[in-house]
Symmetry: C2
Subunit: 333 residues, 2 copies
């Protein structure tokens, strides 16, 4: 299976994506990689590494879409970017998926523009993994759609349930609706309508309040993209901020080095689930193809995990399952 | 100065409100208290305490609005509740303020119904204190108005700036707009409009992303009430959840008791700013009167601090300042 990897995406290119690609070939013997980006940049990075030359290929793409570039403008003007050419190669059937730690907005725009939507899907969505007391939940939408219609919540529930079941191996994923209170009549008319729409399904567990999120009350949290994006970034910032706060406290208390080490060790272990490296990246759900996005700061291990996640998504045919569920029957599986 | 205190509001009535009222009279010699609620319940609680009988009075209100009661229904049907009669006493000039740790929705509805809005104010708002790396920020709106119009953001900025300056003693409070990105063109049309509307003011520091919130990037975070409410409850839940996670980690690591004690001690100190007790409660801004709401789980100390905060708000005449700023000129002070 050939997976295209954006060699110049994210905050640490080409080092992290190229390293991650090589790691993926070492962990999964079936995987081949198509690195997209300026050939000279990729070659220089590859030269530093030991790798199986028969399984890592290069697709020359001279242009780079930066993390701060305006998504739609970049996709329109940079026709020879690593993102555009990588996704085009996927569209043309030259590779099974495209993964990138680059500009999320540009990746979504290019995926929509080049791959289109799955049959019956109103809007593709960005789901994000969210660490909780119980493990990992999915937060959807995490910023692709700032405003939603009730039917979109329903489709996001269907798509993320399939992802949770197939890829995260959660047998019967439960669904909660992010809201300002538990009762069905809480929130805007929109939320009341979604609540009613989902209430027939066993998997729907009702409204989820802000204080419930970290408890992992359900496997999937449905949210508009505005609140979802704020929550996602808030959660990502917690470990770093906590560390700063603890350092300050320990300094004030005058703790000796072994004691400091002990505290850092306990906190480090506790915050591990907040490390986005383990998942690496997940696909835009609803796109007619397999396009995965990872965190801009993705480490080589995170890129490797995103590549292996792409392989799983292809093998489990999650897009086929989404299309058949959305178009066949009115149910949240 | 006479402050009415809801003796049957919150999760721990009558104990916590009555204890808090007595504490307030001990800390501030100028304060007198009017406890509202069923007389027998209040008397029984007061009998357990030592207090200055000349400074603690009772306003008999036989009905209790529960934490789970529907706000508007409760206000309409329970005309003799501690909230309704307490706010009526304030409206009639019998006391300078009303404070409660009870049903927030009912308190807001009753405050609107009985006291009305300040001249020129479109909508009253709930501001909430939010702990950050730098101290305390104000999150506004925290749930009173799920959807906002641009002019409402502007007024919330004015009102919370006055509160921050007068009561929190922040000399030049800075303002940020909660959004999904830093750039002025991020978010919905609504956010772009608010950004433009506020951009003339020195105090406006632009958009604040989810990851910036805990950093304390600005003194005031402007938000719609939906996202604000989710964030508020999320933040409140952090200390408890962190403690559970740490306990689990330490158990797994098999840490001995002194080591566990050390970690809990460091975390306890670090999480202190997240303890809502210190502020107690703050007023609904924009209401034509002084009506303060505290957390349902308010301790006696939290109630005491809310009472003393009410005194400060009255002394600093924040309502007069709000009215003159909103009606006089187009500025964010």
């Amino acid at each position: 299976m050939l997976i295209a990897v954006d060699a110049v995406g994210g905050d640490h290119y080409p080092h992290n994506p190229v390293q991650g690609a090589v790691l993926a070939t070492k962990e999964n013997a079936e995987v081949e990689i198509l690195l997209t980006g300026p050939e000279s940049v990729i070659k220089e990075e590859l030269d530093k590494l030991e790798y199986d030359k028969s399984r890592i290929h290069i697709l020359h793409a001279p242009e780079i879409i930066g993390m701060k570039d305006s998504p739609t403008a970049a996709v329109k003007t940079k026709r020879n970017s690593s993102i555009t050419l990588g996704l085009s190669a996927h569209k043309n059937g030259e590779c099974s998926a495209f993964v990138s730690a680059g500009n999320t907005g540009a990746l979504l725009a290019a995926s929509m523009f080049l791959l289109g939507k799955l049959d019956g899907v109103l809007r593709p969505t960005i789901a994000a993994t969210y660490p909780t007391l119980k493990g990992i939940s999915l937060l959807v939408d995490a910023g692709a759609n700032l405003e939603l219609k009730p039917q979109m919540y329903y489709q996001f529930a269907v798509m993320s349930s399939i992802y949770a079941k197939e890829i995260m191996k959660i047998e019967n994923p439960t669904i909660g609706l992010l809201n300002v209170g538990e009762e069905p009549e809480k929130g805007l008319d929109l939320h009341k309508e979604v609540y009613q729409m989902l209430s027939d399904f066993d998997s729907f567990k009702g409204n989820i309040e802000g204080g419930d999120i970290l408890l992992g009350k359900t496997d999937i949290y449905l949210s508009d993209g505005f609140s979802g994006n704020v929550l996602l970034k808030f959660g990502e910032a917690i470990p770093e901020i906590l560390k700063s706060l603890l350092t300050k406290t320990m300094k004030e208390k005058g703790l000796d080095e072994p004691s400091q080490k002990l505290v850092y060790d306990v906190i480090g272990t506790t915050m591990k689930p907040f490390n986005y490296e383990h998942v690496g990246g997940i696909p835009f759900l609803g796109v007619n193809g397999m396009s995965l996005v990872g965190h801009g700061s993705s480490s080589p291990v995170a890129i490797k995990n995103m590549i292996l996640n792409a392989v799983k998504c292809v093998e489990h045919e999650i897009n086929d399952k989404i299309v058949s569920t959305i178009n066949k029957k009115d149910s949240v599986e």
